[in-house]
């Protein structure tokens, strides 16, 4: 029996990475959801689609004292945090897949610890 810890250490590391990103997502649940929704509306505004004055996006623009188009520019300029996090998660998973020693896995996991 040749014991190789790497396959199970990779599985364990993958679970830890997913757990960490799930925790981050849970912390940002409302904001991420709101940003994603506003980004969809902002894209529609930038495509010159009409927006009802009672629409929450238009209400927020009035609250801020800016035009709908200006708010759309602000929203569109912000990074998509969900996509950013997913990119980071995939990068870590690929690093775990490529790791050849337990120490390498430990070092990768150290970068996501609290």
């Amino acid at each position: 029996m040749k014991l190789d810890p790497m396959p199970m250490l990779r599985v364990s590391a993958t679970l830890k990475i997913n757990e960490r990103f799930n925790a981050i997502a849970a912390t940002n649940l409302h904001r991420d959801h709101a940003y994603r929704r506003k980004r969809e509306v902002a894209n529609a505004v930038m495509r010159s689609e009409s927006l009802d004055a009672a629409h929450p996006f238009a209400r927020e623009a009035r609250m801020r004292g800016i035009s709908v188009r200006e708010l759309a520019d602000v929203v569109a300029a912000k990074a998509d945090t969900i996509d950013q996090r997913e990119g980071e998660r995939q990068r870590l998973l690929l690093e775990i897949e490529a790791a050849t020693t337990p120490d390498a896995i430990t070092a990768i996991l150290a970068t996501i610890s609290d």
């Binding site: 029996m1 040749k2 014991l3 190789d4 810890p5 790497m6 199970m8 250490l9 364990s12």
Partner: protein, 138 residues
């Protein structure tokens, strides 16, 4: 005090140190239910002991042979581990279970591919005590 145990296995299920009605009365109740009972002077270790031939004795250890503490992490240096009796087992590395044997094995020759400490947890049938051995690979 009164030791109550399973007659088939000798496994201790209760230790009664005091009873208002007296230990003999409690003993009679357990005897009537078919449990094994034994009056002893000292409190036995609940986990480490069992009842054999009418006496509280220490549970036996698994015999391990072929064990060496250090091994080369080259995948070729084999440790010819053998257990008596055969045991179910887990192998842990860095806190993670990396291998399990769900059915009892008597012979478990191993080699390792990565440096570090490997812990082998043995789960024999009762009354044998569970045992842990460590192998360090460099």
């Amino acid at each position: 005090m009164l030791v109550v145990y399973d007659q088939a296995s000798g496994r201790i299920s209760q230790i009664v140190t005091h009873a208002e009605s007296g230990l003999q009365a409690i003993k009679a109740l357990h005897d009537a239910m078919g449990a094994g009972t034994l009056i002893v002077q000292d409190v036995p270790d609940f986990i480490m002991s069992f009842v054999k031939d009418g006496a509280v004795v220490r549970r036996p250890d698994v015999e391990v042979s072929g064990y060496v503490e250090d091994v080369a992490a080259d995948g070729g240096d084999e440790i010819p581990l053998a257990f008596k009796p055969a045991c179910k087992l887990d192998v842990l590395f860095a806190g993670a279970v990396i291998h399990s044997e769900a059915a009892p094995v008597a012979f478990f020759p191993i080699s390792v591919t990565q440096p570090g400490e490997y812990t082998i947890r043995l789960y024999p049938e009762f009354p044998y005590l569970e045992r842990e051995i460590k192998v360090t690979a460099e």
